[in-house]
């Protein structure tokens, strides 16, 4: 029943996905905290504003995305349970961030 409600509430088309943006800049994430609704698919649009290549990586989100300097791309993430899911830049490991599903 709950699952059915979630399905009804979920957007019908891919382009209506809840979308958040994330900028990567030579070892910095802006913002470092992304809030998304729990239980629905969502999209993260990622831009690499830095001068070096970056890799958005998150095992909890099951995503890996390499971005050349200046590149823009996106990942579509499966519905998450409420909680915090970390991500980091594999090419600049000091850069860490978190997706918060509510």
């Amino acid at each position: 029943m709950f699952a059915a409600l979630v399905l009804l509430a979920a957007p019908a088309h891919a382009d209506e996905l809840h979308t958040v943006s994330l900028d990567m800049n030579d070892g910095k994430f802006v913002p470092t905290r992304l809030e998304v609704p729990a239980g629905v698919k969502f999209k993260i649009v990622i831009r690499n504003l830095g001068k070096t290549a970056a890799e958005f990586e998150s095992l909890p989100l099951r995503k890996e995305k390499v971005l050349a300097p200046g590149a823009e791309s996106f990942v579509v993430v499966h519905p998450l349970r409420a909680g915090e899911y970390g991500f980091f830049d594999d090419f600049h490991q000091e850069a860490q961030g978190v997706v918060v599903a509510k």
């Binding site: 290549a53 890799e55 990586e57 998150s58 095992l59 909890p60 989100l61 099951r62 995503k63 890996e64 390499v66 499966h78 349970r81 909680g83 915090e84 899911y85 970390g86 991500f87 980091f88 594999d90 090419f91 490991q93 860490q96 978190v98």
Partner: protein, 273 residues
Amino acid sequence: MGQVLFVVWRESVEALLVIGILFTWIVGRPDSRRWLPYLWGGVGLGLAGAVALGMLILFAGEAMSESSQTLFQTGLMLLACGLIVQMVVWMRRHGRTLKQEMHTALAGEVGRSHGWGVLLLAAIAVAREGSETVVFLYGIGQHLVFFEFVLATVAGLALAGITFVLLQLGGKYVSWRWFFRVTEILLLLLGAAMLMSAVDNLLSLEILPAVVDPLWDSSAFINDGTAMGGLVAAFTGYRAYPALTSLLIYIGYWVLVLGLLRLPRATRVPAGA
């Protein structure tokens, strides 16, 4: 980076082991000058084969769209995982008799008095380890910065040379048996990690259903969303938010591996096959 180093190191030691056996055998013969060129020719041929395969994989990957590239990479990860298991099982069965088996094969070649067999033996050994390395590296190293990648590869080769010399010096420092014991456990863990990455991709592409997702949340224990936790995951296949499918495949992998390693020799294909 650590994975690249480890894989290059272990694969190179194996190739060196075979070359070393061939080399000592040839040098011990009175007509060794005749045979050595075949040995080095074989080594070169094997290296060329591995490099050619690497190029082919890279160019094939470049030419694809992003989702088919992910799928292609996933396929190679599964292949690499299978190769790891096959290699560990093969070494377990042949490691101890490898020298004797090769000498028998060599004696046969010499009987026919041509060096192509020596060439082929060396080429196969090098190409085998080399192409396994290439497949691994594509699976795990694709996202590394080129400089780091080269560094890890060169360091792995150098370490392999040192290890081989130490092992050859006899049981003084490290024994072959100990070397294979430790590295085979690490290799199998790496195989499991690679399998889990492949499963992640398949779940992400919705080729596999997650069924229950996530099954639990152990991020308070080890958080795989951080660089440190990611390292643990890269060497063991650990996941803080595993899907049921991932867990079942992970268990299945270890059941299969342990089953294969325990299989009595008698049920195997006769020796020499």
